[in-house]
Subunit: 152 residues, 2 copies
Amino acid sequence: MSKSARFIDYFLSHRKVTNELTAKIDRKDYTYKPTPSSMEAQKLVKHIFESTYMFASLANHQEPVPLFNEEDEANLTEQASTYTEKTIEMIQQLSDEDFQQKIDVSKIFGKELSVSELLHTAVDHEIHHKGNLFVYVREMGHTDLPLYVNTN
Amino acid sequence: MSKSARFIDYFLSHRKVTNELTAKIDRKDYTYKPTPSSMEAQKLVKHIFESTYMFASLANHQEPVPLFNEEDEANLTEQASTYTEKTIEMIQQLSDEDFQQKIDVSKIFGKELSVSELLHTAVDHEIHHKGNLFVYVREMGHTDLPLYVNTN
């Protein structure tokens, strides 16, 4: 199994859960936030999708481009599907050798990271915000929630 | 740098944040929970500490033993300090070769994992619940929160 295939499995074990939570958010709850200083649910979900895609793009030496505009009417489930597909495409392009290559992300992290480190940082960031999202979705009234990771 | 030293740095980049959030929880908020079906703050924090220590023990072929009893009066900050120290001690005992060894955690995960995979699963689990905890602590009235990861 190639490193990219193995990493995609790992990424999906968390992304499937992000998408499952996203599907539970009614449009009326898009602007829900637990406290005045919290991120709105819609922004939190978009931030997860955009960030992971951005890190995967950087791992491929590509300029990250948002796939949807702020004004786009697309619902979050549609964005979940597009971002997941495009993120997988980015990771699929990486060879086993690429995973050891250094990427200059010093503007973001203050240092170079290997592609492998950068991709793991991307998933750590997603797990963190998905952890936030679990509380949001429970507060929206959902009690039948998935496990935090799905390895099926 | 040994694999265990590198892993301890990575573990601490998240544990320092867990401990920072824990220190913000007043004793009056130990039983706080965002919804009736949520875990209480105190239980959530203990669950993080106990789980990571349990996984690090299993990685060392040791039976996990809780370091505090349910009835213990010890405050969460004291538990944070003890669990962090003991978890580091567990990881320090692992040689570079140990990281590739298989551990039978099939009762928990349905399959064997390498020590490296098991330790990474432990930190992923902590990042997830720390992500929950960020929302709890903000709801307790704190707005000056750390970043989700601390690499200093």
